[in-house]
Amino acid sequence: MFRTTDIVLIAVMIGAAAVTYRIKQGAENELEHIQKIKTQIRLEHDTINLLKADWSLISQPKRLQKLVDLYQAQLNLQPTSSEQIVTLDQLPMRPVKMPAPPDSAQVAQNGHDGVVTGSLKK
């Protein structure tokens, strides 16, 4: 009888130890994982900052102006002059293109044109 209680208690103790160990191990693993992700986030943040600075550096007006000057022959970019800026209401109407009328000489030769109207009988 005493042996049974002993064995049960020992089993419970070992079981409890095992469970505790598992939980602790799991928590440590999770912590490590979180730490890793945190490091990664920090790294990404730093990279984003750096890329932003980099972008700002390469999109500097000064640099763009230099590039425009350098590739003037190919790009032929010019500053916008005030004459080139107009509003819509300042523009005249676009001239309408009419379809060309049928050749009148041909119509006269054939004696009739292709247009069939209801009043005519063949």
């Binding site: 600075a53 700002s56 000064k62 916008t80 005030s82 800026i85 300042q90 523009l91």
Partner: protein, 570 residues
């Protein structure tokens, strides 16, 4: 088990029934043994207690890093961005390379490998450092990310990196004087960097609450494009006219926001080795100059606003004015009576002096104070100079101040006062932070009547059409302006060869959206033109306006110039 123990207890309990108790020698010896056992137990408990305590301690504490000393505490600073969100200043992390000589296995191999990444590494110096028995040595500060990755890839033991924060200004010298400087600990030393510290950042940093992610970027009213154009044009002009210094400011006339402000020569805040040179200070806010004829703007506005002078009034400029031992001449004497617009157009010293005389000295002083020309200009920058004026205003002072000699002001406050004259008579405090129209109204104060402002706009346009500001015209943008060519004081006397030139302009002048002021210090004659503001500052202003007006969305207008519109349809 329990029953057995109980039965034993019962047995022991029966013992007192025996009448005679004889304690033998063994029993007495057993008593002593009991105390010994107890002592042993205490000792074992102590030893195991210490061991258990240590175990708990090691389990709960992480092992501390041995190796490099703690990093230099560089505090995080917020980014500074322009009004469109373009980065003007940011923190970047740079890696600095250190070595722990004790952990380096083969010094020669380590140096050879490092040499492949850092070709300019000093061989002997590095060898000496790595052979030393120091625990820690710096090898190279602030490496590029590429170099860092390459060194990591070498896989040399005993090398490590420490991240350090560094302030980076992508625009270089573009907005140097506005942004200012930080020191090696990332503390603001000048400009807006210092302003940000004073606004509570230093407290945040001291309490450790300032982290890179939490700090919101600080937005300025500056437009990076305008700032660049200003910087670019002024650099060209300074070179072209061989001036010793140049400066310029662009203000939004409706809100008082500063869109761009440049003072040359400047410095590169990324490498500010020369920032403290005497010649490189911020002339726009921290330098005071006698503005010369530009000041006639204020004198004329004052005379018109007092109601004692009208546009059609005439003044006798036939002869130079004599005041005691002073004689006042005109630069281009007309030798006749001139109307107020003519006086403004020909920039007549005599005429302007006569206009000023109509107003009492007290009122004159009060008027200029109201315009903010005699007090420190309120602006976020820490570097602001106080204007200079005579201790006692005598009549002669009033006369010379009328045409801009005797009072020295900062160029920025001249531009701000000019903005008040041109924008319906409302003085708006300038700012380097973005501001809405409603916020601007809180910082607005009426200084002259709207009708006077209307007259002044007419005079400004007239001056740009027919007067000294002709070279400032930009087709479509309707520029109006006033030139100012002041002789500089050299050894207590006005020099005839050294000028201080300025050009104050607004566009479009019928309802100015933007006000600009360009200054050139000691320009030299160029291309057959004298070194006057009309010949150097005015064309510079034209170049600036031509480039910034389309960026700022100012609609060009040709209606009044009767120019036909050329349209082509393809």
């Amino acid at each position: 088990m329990i029953r057995r123990w109980l039965s034993r207890f019962r047995k022991r309990g029966e013992a007192p029934d025996e009448t005679i108790v004889v304690d033998g020698a063994r029993k007495s010896a057993g008593g002593r043994a009991g105390s010994r056992i107890f002592m042993m137990m205490v000792m074992f408990f102590c030893v195991y207690g210490v061991i258990a305590g240590r175990l708990v301690y090691y389990g709960s504490h992480d092992e501390e890093d041995s190796g490099p000393p703690p990093a230099r505490p560089t505090e995080a600073r917020p980014d500074i961005v322009d009004r469109n969100g373009e980065i003007l200043a940011t923190d970047i992390k740079t890696a600095s390379l250190y070595a722990e000589p004790r952990h380096i296995v083969d010094v020669d191999e380590a140096i050879d490998k490092l040499h492949s990444v850092l070709p300019d590494l000093n061989y002997e110096d590095t060898y000496r450092k790595l052979k030393s028995h120091a625990g820690f040595v710096w090898l190279r500060r602030q490496l590029t990310p590429k170099q860092e990755a390459d060194i990591l890839a070498l896989g040399v033991p005993g090398l490590g990196f420490r991240m350090e924060r560094k302030r980076f200004y992508p625009g270089g010298s573009m907005a140097a004087h506005i942004l200012g400087l930080v020191n090696i600990d990332n503390k603001g030393l000048a400009g807006m960097e210092k302003y940000i510290d004073e606004q509570g950042l230093s407290i945040l940093q001291a309490t450790g609450l300032a982290t890179q992610q939490d700090l919101k970027p600080v937005r300025l009213s500056i437009d990076a494009r305008v700032q660049h154009v200003l910087h670019d044009e002024l650099t060209q002009s300074m070179e072209k006219y061989r001036a010793i210094a140049a400066g310029g400011v662009v203000l939004n006339a409706k809100t008082g926001e500063i869109l761009g402000m440049v003072s040359l020569p400047d410095y590169d805040p990324n490498n500010p080795y020369n920032a403290l040179e005497k010649n490189r200070f911020n002339r726009m806010t921290n330098g005071v100059f006698e503005m010369g004829s530009t000041f006639k703007t204020f004198t004329t506005a004052m005379a018109l606003d007092s109601g004692k002078v009208h546009l059609s009034d005439k003044f006798d400029t036939t002869h130079p004015l004599h005041y005691g031992r002073y004689t006042i001449h005109d630069y281009e004497p007309k030798h006749r009576w001139l109307t107020v617009p003519e006086i403004f157009k020909y920039s007549s010293n005599i005429g302007t002096a006569l206009e000023a005389e109509k107003v009492s000295i007290e009122h004159n002083k009060e008027f200029l104070t109201n315009l903010g020309l005699l007090t420190r200009v309120p602006i976020e920058l820490p570097e602001v100079a106080t204007p200079e004026q005579p201790k006692v205003w005598k009549p002669i002072n009033q006369i010379t101040i009328a045409f801009g000699h005797g009072v020295a002001t900062t160029p920025l406050q001249t531009a701000v006062a000019g903005m008040a004259i041109l924008d319906g008579g409302l003085l708006i405090e300038p700012t380097l932070l973005p501001r809405t129209q409603a916020q601007a109204d809180e910082h607005t104060k009426r200084v002259i009547k709207a009708s006077t402002s209307q007259d002044m706009k007419y005079l400004f346009r007239l001056n740009a059409e027919q007067g000294s500001g002709r070279q400032a015209r930009v087709p479509g943008y309707f520029v109006g302006g006033k030139t100012g060519t002041a002789e500089k004081v050299v050894n207590g006397k006005y020099s005839h060869s050294k000028n201080f030139d300025a050009f104050l302009a607004g566009f479009p002048i019928n309802d100015p959206q933007y006000v600009t002021l360009v200054i050139l210090d000691e320009p030299k004659p160029y291309g057959g033109w004298p070194a006057t503001a009309g010949a150097n500052c005015a064309p510079t202003t034209a170049n600036i306006i031509r480039r910034i007006a389309p960026l700022l969305g100012v609609e060009p207008e040709f209606g009044h110039q009767l120019q036909s519109l050329l349209v082509s349809y393809n």
